[in-house]
């Protein structure tokens, strides 16, 4: 029988994710992929996998699976209770599951998304080179439901020991480095507006973007009524819709957007935004000139 796990219970959103499908934005295809990429990579390393294999992204935990064959698993992301057949085993460490063993991920005390790496990786069919579920465009596997049987690939190597510091605590306040541009000139004193404000993460946030509530960003008078023809946007773009309340684009963002992007978040600050709960305070630390020519 093929190696597999069965999903027994899911939390509010439980998705297959890998490192996404960058390279197809010109076809209208978002990058998608794990929001906390380093956590998925770590889960894979702990389970003895290459970092890019598909695992499970469990929003607010709540995932219970049964191993249908012998496998090694690891749970990463924020600190979270993990049990095997009711016995606590802890996160951020490789755990061996015998056939029939049940693994349960509880609810994380901080942060949003836990990652489950499984030896061999989840091997559902790839779409445009990736197994990630793209919640915006519907590419990739359906969100997981109880009863789903997920085939696994063959294990590549032995599980490694815990090779990194254990769980990060998602902070209540995040300072986010932003490089100004490409459309910073659409705003009055963009650096000062970003540096001087404070926003909080809205409950309307999702894998498409972190929506912020707080003081609206003011456009420069000469751009007050201007419409921007849609243009390509990158992950981490801080887009400012007409109402002035910024949205930080995450992995499932649309490939083009018709509102000005005041700045772009430094890539290494994105994983923490994927773990920022509603109510988290966001401070921007802007840097850089906004025009290149």
């Amino acid at each position: 029988m093929r190696r597999a796990i069965t999903v027994l219970a899911t939390g509010p959103q439980t998705l297959i994710q890998d490192l996404g499908r960058p390279g197809s934005a010109h076809l209208g295809v978002p990058p998608s992929g794990a929001l906390d990429g380093p956590a998925l990579r770590l889960a894979n390393r702990l389970a003895g996998n290459p970092e890019h294999l598909a695992g499970i992204e469990a929003l607010l935990g709540g995932l219970r699976i049964r191993a249908e064959s012998s496998c090694t698993v690891a749970v990463t992301g924020p600190a979270v209770p993990v049990t095997v057949d009711g016995r606590a085993v802890g996160s951020h460490a490789p755990v061996h599951l015998r056939p029939g063993a049940e693994l349960e991920i509880g609810a994380p005390a901080t942060g949003l998304r836990c990652y489950l790496g499984i030896s061999g990786g989840v091997e559902v069919p790839a779409e445009l080179g990736s197994r990630a579920t793209d919640t915006l465009s519907g590419i990739g596997p359906e969100p997981l439901r109880p009863g789903d049987v997920l085939p696994l690939g063959n294990p590549a190597g032995p599980p490694t020991g815990a090779d990194e510091l254990a769980p990060v605590r998602a902070p209540d306040r995040l300072t986010v480095p932003v490089l100004l541009g490409p459309r910073a000139d659409w705003f009055d004193d963009p650096g000062a507006q970003l540096a001087g404000g404070e926003w909080t993460v809205s409950p309307q946030s999702n894998r498409v973007g972190v929506r912020l509530v707080g003081l609206p960003l003011r456009r420069a008078a000469r751009y007050a009524e201007t419409e921007l023809p849609s243009e390509g946007v990158v992950t981490g773009a801080v887009q400012v819709p007409a109402g002035g309340r910024p949205v930080i684009f995450l992995a499932d963002h649309p490939t083009t957007g018709g509102y000005p992007v005041i700045g772009v978040v430094r890539p290494d600050a994105l994983p923490a935004l994927g773990q920022a709960r509603p109510g988290t305070a966001i401070l921007f630390r802007p840097a850089g000139q906004y025009s290149d020519s």
Partner: protein, 214 residues
Amino acid sequence: MRLLRCGTDAVLVELDTLGEVAAVRAALAAAAGRGELPGLVELVPAARTVLACFEPGTGGRQRLRAVLDHADLEHPPAGAPRRVVLPAVYDGPDLDLVARTAGVGPGEVVRLHSEADYTVAFCGFAPGFGYLSGLPEPLRQARLDSPRERVPAGAIGVAGEFTGAYPRSSPGGWRLIARLADTAEPLFDPLRDPAALLAPGDLVRFEVAGGNTS
């Protein structure tokens, strides 16, 4: 041409016309094909811009500037565009509206739309949705005053300087003049290779198909 910084690893090239966008996209794609833009991950044309994204630390932004400095944008490389023929049934709900607005009969709208040669200027809005340039002047019309909540998959519409076909059902404000015939290949199928029937630079024609009903 303006080069705008877009984070640490991307550049947004801003241009004045759709023609310049096509030329810059073609020049950058050709340079990438020659290995002159290592680390290029995405090349995303839009209405007045081309976005180029690079792998971190590959120095692509400097190379991009050098490529553009030496590119002859008056004579962009032709590349190897695909030629796509889309069979269309001209029975859209806005066919009469488009005809009235253009001051012609519906038959003339069909003739104008199906005899024109189009180019995929860019994609977006949904995977596989191509914005096709080359729309005859009389068919260049405003969007509907209030968008439809649901446009069926395969609907063919016009808006501004573009025409295009909806790969799947979605809200939409384009004036619908036709639909893809049942014999048309899907515009987007993530399990097919290539997944998208249309990519920027491809050449497209619509062909009047019989009155098959669905």
